[in-house]
Symmetry: C2
Subunit: 248 residues, 2 copies
């Protein structure tokens, strides 16, 4: 072995992990899946699910594994967000963690009976606070990234069941963007994109006029995307500007 290789192998080593912010949407509310820690440190605290990365495992693969062990789900949307590595972020030593977020349809989600997932639970994102380690920072960072991405890519559909109403879709966007949207403008915009298929079905058993059901036309989206189309959902810039002017 060359000197360089020897030096290389003796160089500083640290543990590395992935943490996964798993978002879901249910009951008109954006949720995040937390687990109750079964070990030190911070035993019995709610925390983000995460685990060590195996020696022969790529980063994305590790993030997928964490997700699958916990929820049994594969093929979900997954995105790397940011790496956290403050010297003292973990009390037992240097641990650098790569944060991912993923989007799951809660209706598909099943507790995996023989895993740490027994202690997993969905929490409303607006109510989560005081997570251990730097998990609050990780959660904020992932939420910000979601907010940003949802405006330029059709991610919302990853969080909804295959058939959904326009009002459900609107509420989802409102939860993510933390703003209110105008019903008519939202519908006009989303329908004008020509990415929803009207299923010509309606809700049943609701105590009001039943809503039409739609599904996302993934095939058409892929085709548009290949042609340079970018999904863009706005309605917020002007509000901010006005707020600014009033404030001056």
């Amino acid at each position: 072995m060359s000197d360089v290789q020897t030096e290389f192998q003796n160089f500083f080593k640290a543990a590395f992990t992935v943490d996964n912010v798993i978002f879901g949407f249910d009951d008109g509310d954006l949720k995040v899946l937390l687990i109750k820690r079964g070990e030190m440190p911070y035993e019995d605290n709610w925390a983000l699910p995460g685990y060590f990365i195996n020696e022969d495992e790529d980063l994305d693969t590790a993030a997928k594994r964490v997700l699958e062990e916990l929820t049994g789900l594969r093929n979900v949307f997954l995105e790397q967000v940011e790496t956290f590595g403050s010297v003292n972020r973990h009390p037992f030593g240097r641990v650098i963690t790569i944060a991912y977020f993923s989007l799951v349809k809660i209706s598909n989600y099943k507790l995996q009976p023989d895993s740490i997932a027994l202690k997993a639970k969905w929490h409303s994102i607006s109510k989560v606070r005081d997570l251990p380690f730097d998990h609050s920072d990780i959660l904020s960072s992932c939420f910000e990234k979601l907010k940003q991405l949802v405006r330029i890519r059709p991610l919302g559909f990853e969080l909804l069941p295959p058939k959904f109403t326009l009002t459900e879709l609107q509420h989802l966007y409102e939860s993510i963007l933390e703003t209110e949207l105008d019903k008519r403008n939202f519908r006009k915009k989303i329908l004008s994109m020509d990415l929803l298929i009207d299923l010509e079905e309606t809700q049943e058993g609701v105590a009001h006029r039943p809503a039409r059901l739609y599904k996302f036309d993934r095939k058409k989206y892929e085709q548009f995307r290949a042609e340079g189309f970018t999904f863009e959902l706005k309605e917020s810039r002007k509000k901010m500007r006005k707020a600014m002017i009033n404030h001056q």
Copy 2:
């Protein structure tokens, strides 16, 4: 030491590095600073500057250190972008690297005489190819991030000398966004933001009508930002959409 701690310390360990994509702008062209590697592997190849993260060092600190050792510059814009950790990205072992980009004013840049920087050189971004390891992917990822950020934050000014002309600013944006901008629309937009100070000076010694010099009003920007203003530079969505329609 508890069992958990023992297990923890015996867990798989890997080497951690930062790689830094250092952008500069000169001569109407976006540049990236590469170093000629002095060691194996890929000895004598041009590559991104990077180094191991010290045991007692935060990630951002390591990225800043790499930059300072190479250029002597402090207090430059620096942003974490993405972490690369494919199992086989480094031939000598598992190396996970956290990619940053930074923006420097080339006019401030001095070679650091006693460093690896002796072998550093600015390369036009359009001409760089075939970098070792996965450095081409890292470069693309950072360039994409720059493209994205430059639209929503006034980063361009980090790359220009303190006094600049509107044409220089326009060319900078054109290099980063890889598109052409309309001169009148660009000026209208950028001046309407009220973030440039007209220095009431002009260029000297140019063989054409001398241009006015401006500087960026950082104080005003910070004030606007606190009030919710977002810097936004566009002029490209519609072009894309038209291209798409023509293509159908």
